[in-house]
Amino acid sequence: MSDTLLEIDRLSVDYETARGDLKALRDISFDIRKGEIVGIVGESGCGKSTLISSILRLTAPNTRFRKGEVRFKGQDLLQLPEHKMRDLRGADISIVFQDPMQTHNPVLSIGQQMLDIQHRSQAGKVEKRARAAQMLGAVGIPDPEARLEQFPHEFSGGMRQRIAIAMALMSEPDLLIADEPTTALDATLEVQIIERLQELQQELDCAILFISHHLGVIAELCDRVVVMYTGAVVESGDVREIFHDPKHPYTRRLIDCDPGHIKERARVLPTIPGEVPDLANLPGGCIFRDRCDQAVPRCASEVPPLSKLKEGHHAACWLNHEEVHQ
């Protein structure tokens, strides 16, 4: 058996809207190996959340899967019957969703919710409670036994994010997907959560797909990174390599905005001048052209393919093609 856990293969996803089809994901391809931490980075609106909800098929009702496959352990999840898909959710693949303030049910106690998600376990109620308390302790929530009785609104945002992580890791999944788990938090909390995630990952040996719009956080945590722009992958590869030798102007801009190590960086959102193209009405040629300061004539007429520059490093920019420089 190969050690590839998840392969996203030429995935294209649209949202049907009154304005026409929104091309939220176009030809996305990348993979995650067992126990690896892969980061996805890109400005807000580039399709990161769409991508991760597509993996578990928990997308909005107006979502249309146009093309491609999502293979988990070799099996295409997009073809799986719903009940089989449900068996995977929260067992083999767990998700920590983006907004910690809205991710828990507001009228059920945390203990009740943590008990409910152990529905596959044969253990008794007492045992399940103990396991829930133990997981809360593991993500650094003090006095977990008592806090099981409390409701989501009695916890701070940081605490709720920890609870979400605890819940996701409870079943010891093969793949943990975390959608901007630290964006809503302040810098100190962010560092704490990242460190805790690293420890737990070592302990449980699961793969992590970590979404962020901060390259600094990704650099700290991940082995590999996928850079997304308006629904497409523009660069992917080893974190260190991409950090030191970015091959796409967009990646370079992201690094300029966010150069630091997460512990020392100033907390500003990446801002790159220029407007993001309309997903319902994408221009021809390179999608980054309007904001690119290195564009060449060819960029306007032809879409740059995501091409392999060396083993494990891909980028979609004409500047990497010899003939352009001649």
């Binding site: 928990l58 995977l88 959710r89 929260g90 969703f97 049910n105 507001p106 409910d116 596959r120 409701f151």
Partner: protein, 312 residues
Amino acid sequence: MLIFTFRRFGLALLILIVAVTTMFLMIRAVPGDPVQIMLGPRATPELQARLTAELALDQPIWKQLAIFYGNLLQGDLGTDVFSGRSVTEIVFQQLPHTLWLILSSIIWSATLGIALGSYAAAHPNTVIDRITAAISVSFVAAPAFVVALLSLLIFAVNLQWFPAIGAGEGFWGRLNHLVLPAFAIGLSWVGYIARLVRASMLEVMGEPHIRTARAFGLSERRVVMIYALRIAILPVVTVIGVGMGFLLSSAVFAEIVFARPGLGKLVIDSITTRNYPIVMGSVLISTGLFVVSTALADLINAWLDPRARAAV
């Protein structure tokens, strides 16, 4: 929760006192001598003087109010001018009939309404949803007294499935007599509650925490019945609590059409004979019923929703 209960019922009591005092003052503010009106042409000067003293109408208004509340605290709502019986006794004799009518109407219409609404929300924009919508809208549009008259004609007179008038004897007899009036009062509520549940449910089902529940592989049944319905039901409980007031007025129609004993019939009869102590007593009990039912609705909501417990 205990603190919430005390505070909520404290508030209910306050509302009741304000409402009753206002009502008391309004009745006193009506021009004309109430004794004269009550006694009508039978009035002799002695009788008038006696009744005035009995009702303490010769006292200053604040003293009248104090006497009224003093009696009220002892459960004394005054005396029926005609029969001389205690108003409390008369009102409480009629109250159970109305209570049963309202309760059975709410129970059947809420159960059916919630079921229809949840079903429609779980299958939005399907044929079934559209049919439910059409039925709901026509149910909402049907006024209780029209339904009461029609059902009386169809099911009692023509088909003779159910008795037409009265309250019946014994448990089954009473139940049998409840069917048509409860049907008439509840029908418009089925549609109303179904639409409310559908809208509320669709909103909740789109909230992020529902996606979380699904992401842990919870069964769709559990997601809908526990994770969503428990939130979607909150506005319905409030509406039912407030709706008790409307139900009381529909009950008046039903009690007249079906010649049922009850608070509504008592009030109408007393108004035509200008029996003010009974009118006052019935209105007071109805107000109390309304205040208590809205308080109960808030309590149920606080029990269902921990966030609400912090309020009030």
